[in-house]
Symmetry: D2
């Protein structure tokens, strides 16, 4: 895989955006690997993800930002620049269930997830052994009604110390405070065990069973202040039948949850997710 | 296909149900073609669908009912007996969109749906030509805020005259009155263009687009008094992306709607659907 | 929908392709609606589909071709230019089964397929009534072992007379001669009722049943000289169980076939399919 | 979960089978939990899986077999009796890739797979650490062209010593000898990384990429003498696009392989798989 740069952009739709960017890149020797441009017609927005090979590209990060800034300003762009060689730091929060955590750790180990994993934090100790077997420091931070602020202070201290870019809630069954969430906008990814917006909140498999749906789902999303209401990144479903009791839904759901969450994490790490208007564009 | 009888049963779970039924059938020469027995552990309920070949079976309908009644009473069964050779009468209600109607008519024509179709009723005239091309009487019954009772009276008159068993709402965009619904319990099937319980009510594709879901769905269900809240019969979904605008969702959704509705109708006609506790068992 | 131009390109991968094209477009006032660029790393190929609004674009077809030609030549491009306002002419070939034909005709009627449909040709008369109900001329051209050349001559005469762009084999159960196929390269689309390359050739549902597969599929593909071996455009599958006999596979398969074929036709008409090295790129 | 007995039966279809079995069970106090009866019309075969609660059932294993034998003989049944409380012994064979092994071990740990796992055998040492972290003895048995017989002798010695019921090939990249296979009929489950019968043999992802299919698959099956030709137990597929290179297929395929293999193992352990005529019935 070549070392590459990725630019994510959205801005009001106007003539000349692609020409401006590709012209700038070409002038400095970029070889474009992938590019994808689309629109939201209703909102008059333009989206772009462009990735180019750094081999032979003349500009370093500082120089590129200096050159690109006037163009970005002229089109009123919101943009994010990233490099495939820079591995984001990911923290994983977990409670008792470990299927999502294990899935992430194994994918990380075999190279599917290009990140560092400096820390795992659990409000229970159950995942400590698993974290240890993958050589990742585990921090036991119990949370109860009385100590939320203190627990979050400890979490934040860890996140800051390790310069964490992304927080993954791998079936972390605690609600984060608005202050915590506000501190990490579009940087906390959760998996909810239903096909949102159906069955938000607690015990979604029980609710799905009661309602008699014929498919169950899982949803990965950015965490915002409103519970289970953040921008959706990925969803998937699996068929159930009348033979499936609640514990069968839980079992089938585990397979969905880990796949849906790991895709979201991978896409985040590959800089494929663009966030706007309460939803996401995922460039594939 | 042999001419067969189908028995659908549910009752409190107890020893001896299968032995009782299969013993009775065997004593009169039945050859069982398919049988499926399951339970709802939470509610302590037993479900059964059993189908047997009528070739060589000694009991006619009256005799079977007389023989079976004591057994059914002793197990406190709710049961329904049907015959594959008896074609139910199906009425289709439609508004402007015709994709579901066309799908049903074509499936009927080629033998996928073993029913008679004595009437199509539309609150608009759009479907008249299509009904005509398949040789089915079309009744234009306009509905507006002021004439609901009168329109339903006309509909009921038609349904009674043709001894209709099942009413299929093939994207019929009107809400039926509680009185109408109560008259046909578990005999009205609707298709809603979302993955219920998400996006019930009006304009579900717009709502799905706004929320930014990654899959859209369709749901066929029995109609009950509460809007979009009846027992679900079938659901399916299709993946969408940021490239799909609302009209793309509408287009992709049409393919879901017709498949999900036609499956529900076919299963109804094959006596595969058992209704209890606000949900369905679909014997496959 | 705006009136737009679409350019499909593939060429050896080199620096400056995107900049060259987008610069040219911008210089003449194009507003890019969608663009997608990718690579085949193994073969060192670059692919692009770019669509721009013709509103405000300064070049007509002749002028654009004149301007673009030198650029295309310098990058050794293979390219195709199309306009959303130009409706391709599509001929449909059919035998007895009509589910794919009906599906195409209905989609055409409601605007999903932006084409003209000057003719339907059948080697049986079964589809004549259906063609008539949609107002499309039907030509009965019987085919048997002795008259293939003559039948194809009649077909070619019709295709030429109506300047047909695309021939859709909607479950047309005849093998076309190599000469016929060579005359319409990448312009004949077929649907095969299996998940190719499994079960190519005759009676794929029977073969699938014998083998005991757990999913059945359908495949739409360009027709080439080698039977069922042309570039695949789309595939889909559906789950089957031991309860499904061959006629159930046939029934479930019909739903796959029509969806898989109609997607291929729509993508062709939207100029989303690029063909190279025996396979396709489908820009979504 | 109650302690239950499961009976799997197939025999020529005749009247009285269900009545005979359910009558016998009822006479001894069985409460039927699930039952499913079906037919293969072409072959005139009857299939049944019946599961009953052992609570209150009067017959122990010996007594039941004695009572049931005459009935079975009179219907020419092939049958298998199992108990949910008896945990089969499963051996896992592995090479270098560990995603399937890890998946099985985790599912076993959390109770999804009701078996004992006395041994893991690898022709490479890569999986030794993983086996150790789950506390399962690992045996390194190198295999090369010259020592196949010797290696299989060591494997067989281990399998016999641990009274292994099922051998799971969790991406074990060696071909077993006909003698080995014949020793364990319908007791070796493999996962092949394609949608069989397409792309049997070596390097299926490369072959799929070359052919340009739009979905890739994985297949779990019983191992027979003919390579990749045994009765299929489960299959699943995932969509790919032109953006996916071979390594992307490998990555997406891993998620399929583990799910498809673990379902086969679970169904085997739950006595849901019936084998006949080169294919399987999976009772769900």
């Amino acid at each position: 895989m070549p070392s590459s740069a990725i630019l994510l952009i959205h801005c009001p739709d106007r003539r000349g955006i692609v020409a401006g960017i590709s012209g700038l890149l070409y002038a400095h020797g970029a070889n474009i690997l992938h590019a994808d441009e689309d629109q939201d017609n209703d909102l008059g927005l333009f989206f772009m993800r462009i990735e180019w090979d750094l081999e032979g590209f003349a500009l370093d990060d500082t120089a590129f930002r200096r050159e690109f800034q006037p163009l970005a300003a002229s089109f009123d762009m919101r943009w994010k620049l990233a490099y495939s060689a820079v591995r984001p730091a990911v923290a994983i929060f977990v409670s008792r269930a470990q299927h999502c955590l294990l899935d992430l750790l194994y994918r990380h180990e075999i190279g599917e997830l290009a990140c560092d994993t400096p820390l795992i934090a659990g409000n229970h100790v159950d995942a400590q052994a698993l974290a240890g077997s993958y050589g990742i420091p585990f921090h036991h931070i119990p949370v109860d009604a009385g100590n939320t602020a203190e627990a979050e202070a400890r979490q934040i201290e860890l996140l800051e110390r390790h310069a964490v870019d992304l927080i993954v809630l791998a079936r972390y069954m605690q609600v984060l405070s608005p202050e915590f969430v506000a501190r990490y906008p579009q940087r906390i990814v959760n998996v909810h065990h239903s096909f949102l917006p159906a069955f938000s909140g607690a015990r979604p498999y029980h609710a799905a069973y009661q309602r008699g749906v014929k498919l169950i789902g899982a949803t990965s999303h950015f965490v915002t202040e409103a519970l289970d209401d953040g921008p959706i990144i990925e969803q998937d479903v699996v068929r159930i039948s009348h033979r499936d009791q609640v514990h069968d839904l839980v079992q089938k759901g585990r397979d969905l949850e880990r796949v849906v969450l790991s895709r979201a994490v991978r896409w985040y790490l590959e800089h494929r997710i663009l966030h706007y208007a309460g939803k996401t564009v995922v460039f594939d």
